[in-house]
Structure formats: C-alpha cells, structure tokens
C-alpha cells in the first residue's frame, strides 16, 4: 500500500489514473506516507459521468426492492469488515479508534435508512379532485448525482448522500477527500464485491479539475458538498449557474452555552467531547464556550482540570483520548490561530502547543487541548472556525447576551445549551438560529432518519443530507392527473 497511487472505480472496474499529479496521503500520527491520490483529469471524470449516465435507465427501472437488496448486502459487508474499516479511517485521519467506530455506526445507519426506500419514496394520490378525475404524485429519480466529500468524516459524510441516491434509482459519483481517500477506497472494494451493476456507483479521485468537470457537465443533475464555507459558496454559485440541484454544508462556529443551573458533573465531560472530540475537526464541534453568570469560575476550573488529563497520541492506542490533526497544514493553521488569540489579548490558560507525545510520534501533527480565557466576541478565536482542539471561553451576563453573541456570528450549524431548566432550554431551542440544537448534548449529531441540518453560512440549499430530506433531494415529484372516458 505504501506510496501506491490509488485507482478510480469507474463502470464497475478499478482503473489507473492517467494523471501525473498526485497528493500524498499521510498517516498524521507518525507523518508517514500511506498512498498517493491521483488528481484525475477532466477526461477521466467525463468517463465516470458517461458510465453513470449509461447505467441510469436500467437501474432506474430496476424495482426498488431489488435495488435495496444491494444495500442490505453492503450493510452486511460493513459489519463484517467493521474493525478493519474503522482502523483505516484512524490511520489516514488520526481520530481515535472509538471515534472511527462511532463514525462507522452512523455510516451503517444511513445505509440502513436508505433500505427503507420502498416506504420513503412512496408518492400519494387523491380521488375525485374533480368529478371523475384523480390526481397523484410520483417521486422519480433524475439521473447522475455526485458528492464532493471532506476529510473530517471520510466514511460518514458520503453516506448522507449516495445510499439514498442509488436507492431512489439514480446513479452516482463519489469524489472523496484527496487527503483521506482510503476510507472510501475500502468501501468501494466492498461495493465491488457485492456486485452492483456497473456504472451505478463510481469513485473518482481528484481536486478542483475533477469538481469543475462534474459541475460543468450537462449530464450531471446535482451536487452534495461538505467542506469550507468559502469553497462551498463558490460551488453553490457555479451549480446555480449550471442549473444543478445542490446542497452545500459549509463551515461552522458552534456556541455552547452553560447556564448557572447546569449540572457541572455531567456537563464537563460533554464539553470535552464537544470541543476536543475528533481533535476539534467536526462541523459540530464546540467553537466557543459561553459561561453564563456565576457558573463561570467553577466551569472554567472544571474544564481546565479535565482537559489537563487528556492523553494525546496515536488514535490506534486505546489509552489515548485525543489524536493528531489530520494534516500538517491543518496543524499549522490551528497554531496560527492560537498565536492570533494571544496577539489579540486572550489569556492562554492551557497551551497545547508542543504537547508531549511518544518519541515514535515525533513527526505527527499533534496539538494538545488548548484553552483561552478572557475571550471577547470580537476576537478571531471567537468568530472564526478553528478546526482544532481549542476552547475559547467567554463570560456572559445572561441568556440574552449569549443569544446576541450567537446571532452576531455568520455561521449557524449547531448550538447547545446546558441547563436544568426546561423553560430556558425551550427558549434556546426556539430562538437560536442554528440547524442542530443540543439540549444538554454537546455534539448535536442527528441520527440518519433526521436531516443533518445547518443554517445561515453553514448551509446553502433547501434539502439536507440524511433521511427524508435526502430522498426529496434525489427525486422529483411528478403530478399525474387522470380521467378515463
């Protein structure tokens, strides 16, 4: 495997890329090369589009019950290969093994929900809309869809989309993260084994050229994207101009509010998971801790004490809580933001830079838990997504102040409140403009039957990934009005 140039999976076959450009896939715990991702050319991407287009009609006319049996087989294959799959994700991403297991649980859940298509794709009808005239709605597939997936959840994020797309009768192209592609390569090996008809699902590695080709092709119908808001907005515009369906899940800055009546003993472990889990590289990660009123001092002390106990190291070592950042560039970016926090006057009360790890991990991309106190809403660390294990703490007077700070931020992916009071929780859920709200839950990650929501700059589009939203995204409703003479 080491240094191997990965292949694309097109029209039911593994094919070598003709491209000479590659990106290194690095194990971020030890800094070693795992593989190389080819930057596929437009010609290669068009071949995948052609294969998917060619496969569409036959697949679309295959009964849904037959289509989903492939997904049942795939689900079983995921369970049978569960440990290996989780280990691959940890190897290329760095997240601890429990996090990879959790990611695969949700991946499997999405495949399971997609097997409900015979129920989820049902249309509806109504007799006698006028005398002797009936009317019905049919939910039909559209053609070739694709996703552009991120590095932070290389298994789960594609599963928000593609199982629903093919279950509803569309064909599909996955463009995995070029930084963490091995997870999807392994999944496609399993897909190959279960024998889906050729062209129904395809894997194309690459970068900007591949994505632009997918968007500009007249033969693709729509795109699902998860990544930065900057790139997401650009692609959203391009998709709009090209007349595509589109769902763009962008960046985030998730505010976590802790009320004076919160149960600290239960709250602090939740906060640690929220801010530091996946080494802070979650779009649902806690971004700023808003300590309301007189809980501020005790909360700060408790979270500092807990964060100090976090063990940093290789994600495959089960004694470790926190793995490396997924890339050197990601690590450098977080270090730069930490510097900015110091320069702008926040007080660094726990410094994760130069964190101690085992000698064999000396080339890894590690940053330990980092906590800033005396943060103000104007500071960069309070406004921008950090995507690293950093906890900025802001002391606020009351709930209204907290909500004002949340609403001043352009993002709206998630927000959580910790409180023992139902009325306060309801007020938060009612007023806060964020797509995923947690009430005493630090990582408000919806299960597969619910949409993975998002608002404001965190989401562009109408329909989200997962569940019924995904089914609606991948189908269009045709109305049939009937009268028989």
């Amino acid at each position: 495997m080491k240094g191997e140039i990965l292949k694309n999976y097109v029209n039911g076959k593994w094919v070598e890329s003709e491209s000479e450009k590659t990106r290194d896939v690095i194990n971020p715990a030890i800094g070693e090369l795992l593989a190389k991702t080819p930057m596929s050319t437009s010609r290669e991407v068009n071949q995948a589009i052609e294969a998917a287009k060619e496969a569409f009609w036959k697949w679309r006319t295959t009964p849904a019950q037959s289509r989903i049996r492939y997904l049942f087989d795939f689900r079983d294959a995921l369970e049978e290969n569960f440990e290996e799959l989780a280990e691959i994700t940890t190897l290329e991403h760095g997240k601890i093994i429990d996090e990879s297991i959790g990611e695969y649980r949700r991946t499997i859940e999405n495949v399971e929900v997609a097997t409900s298509i015979p129920s989820l794709q049902l249309g509806y009808n109504f007799e006698d809309v006028a005398s002797g005239i009936d009317e019905m709605v049919i939910k039909q597939p559209l053609g070739v869809f694709f996703c552009v997936a991120p590095f932070n959840f290389p298994a789960m994020v594609p599963s928000w989309f593609w199982p629903y797309a093919i279950a509803t009768g569309n064909t599909y192209i996955v463009k995995p993260s070029d930084q963490c592609p091995l997870t999807m390569v392994k999944q496609f090996e399993l897909l190959d084994e279960i024998g889906l008809p050729k062209g129904v699902i395809n894997l194309v590695h690459g970068g900007a050229e591949a994505v632009n080709t997918l968007i500009e092709s007249p033969d693709t119908i729509g795109m699902s994207f998860v990544g930065s808001t900057k790139v997401g907005k650009l692609l959203y515009k391009k998709c709009g101009e090209a007349g595509k369906r589109v769902q763009v899940q962008g960046g985030a800055k998730n505010f976590i509010t802790v009320m004076p009546d919160a149960n600290l003993e239960r709250t602090v472990p939740n906060l640690i998971t929220s801010f530091l889990g996946n080494t802070g590289q979650r779009c649902l990660a806690g971004g700023v801790l808003l300590a309301v009123g007189d809980i501020y001092e005790s909360l700060k002390d408790a979270i500092l004490e807990s964060a100090k106990k976090i063990k940093v190291g290789d994600g495959l070592d089960e004694s470790v809580h926190l793995g490396p950042l997924a890339s050197e560039a990601g690590m450098k970016n977080v270090l730069r933001i930490i510097e900015t926090g110091i320069d702008e006057g926040a007080e660094l009360i726990l410094d994760g830079r130069n964190v101690e790890v085992e000698d064999k991990l000396s080339k890894g991309f590690f940053i330990g838990p980092t906590i800033f106190d005396k943060v103000t809403p104007e500071m960069t660390i309070a406004k921008d997504e950090i995507f690293g294990p950093v906890i900025p703490i802001i002391q606020v007077k009351n709930l209204n102040n907290a909500i004002d700070i949340i609403h001043a931020n352009p993002y709206g992916n998630a927000s959580s409140i910790f409180t023992s009071d139902g009325k306060t929780a309801r007020e938060y859920q009612y007023n806060v403009r964020a797509g995923n709200i947690g009430i005493n839950v630090g990582v408000a990650a919806p299960i597969a039957t619910f949409p993975f929501s998002g608002m404001k700059d965190s989401f562009k589009g109408d329909l989200h990934g997962q569940g019924k939203n995904a089914v609606d995204f991948f189908t269009e409703e045709k109305v049939v009005i009937t009268r028989w003479f």
Partner: protein
C-alpha cells in the same frame, strides 16, 4: 484489530468494552484448559454468548454523540491472566475459578459506575456482574 500501546487506563467506552472482552476470553481459555471440571464446563456456553454480546455493544453504543472520556478507571485490579498465573500453584482449580468470577464481577460493577452516562450499557454491566458473582457461588 491489533491495537498498539498498553492499556494504562480505561479512558473510553471502546477501551472498557475491549478490556471486558479480553478478560472474558482469558477466563474462558482457563476453563477450556480445565474442562474436566464439570462446573467450568457448564460455564462455557454463557461465555460464548457474553463475548458476542460485548462485541455487539462495542459497535452499537460507541456513537458520536456520547464519546465522553472516562476518568480514573485502572484495569490493574482485573488482570485475569495474571491472577491465574499467580494462583495456579497455590490454590485448587475451584478456588481459582471462584476468584476469577468474583474479579470479573467486580470489574463490571465498577465499569457500570464509570459509564453511568450510558444507562443501557451500565445496566448490562450490572447484569453481567451479577452473573459472574452467581457463578462464583455455584463453583464447588
């Protein structure tokens, strides 16, 4: 899965469940090696079932929402292979069996407290703990 590193402390749900499977396996191996003892033979079917259950729980309950760190839970008191090695020359098989069952029961009892935030798994651990204590009483 081959995991690197020593289990210095059981810090995650996955680590607790993996350790549980490990000590169940070690006890099972001891009973299999001494299958002439009728009490041990009778215990084996429940071990098979329990190990499968634990592997399933590890996969099912390690979810993104609740990967909370676990504090101050050392596996040192519950090292079954080590306990067998230390006791095998001094005690009868049945006494070793009783000790094993009590130790594993103690492990689950403590584990249930440590993962109280996952009530479903905590209840399962309490039940398994009770089973092991009962086994300890049944070995003659």
């Amino acid at each position: 899965m081959v995991l690197k590193g020593e289990l210095m402390s059981l810090v995650t749900l996955g680590a607790v469940l993996k350790f549980a499977v490990k000590i169940e396996d070690q006890a099972k191996e001891f009973y299999e090696n001494n299958i002439d003892c009728e009490d041990f033979k009778n215990l084996l079917p429940q071990y098979e079932k329990r190990i499968k259950k634990l592997i399933r729980v590890r996969r099912e309950n390690t979810t993104e929402m609740i990967l909370e760190p676990i504090k101050d839970f050392s596996p040192n008191l519950y090292q079954i292979a080590q306990q067998i090695e230390e006791n095998v020359k001094s005690f009868s098989l049945s006494i070793i069996g009783k000790k094993i069952e009590r130790t594993i029961g103690d492990f689950y009892s403590e584990a249930a407290k440590k993962i109280a935030f996952l009530s479903e798994v905590a209840t399962l651990f309490d039940d398994i703990s009770a089973d092991h204590y009962k086994n300890s009483d049944t070995i003659k």
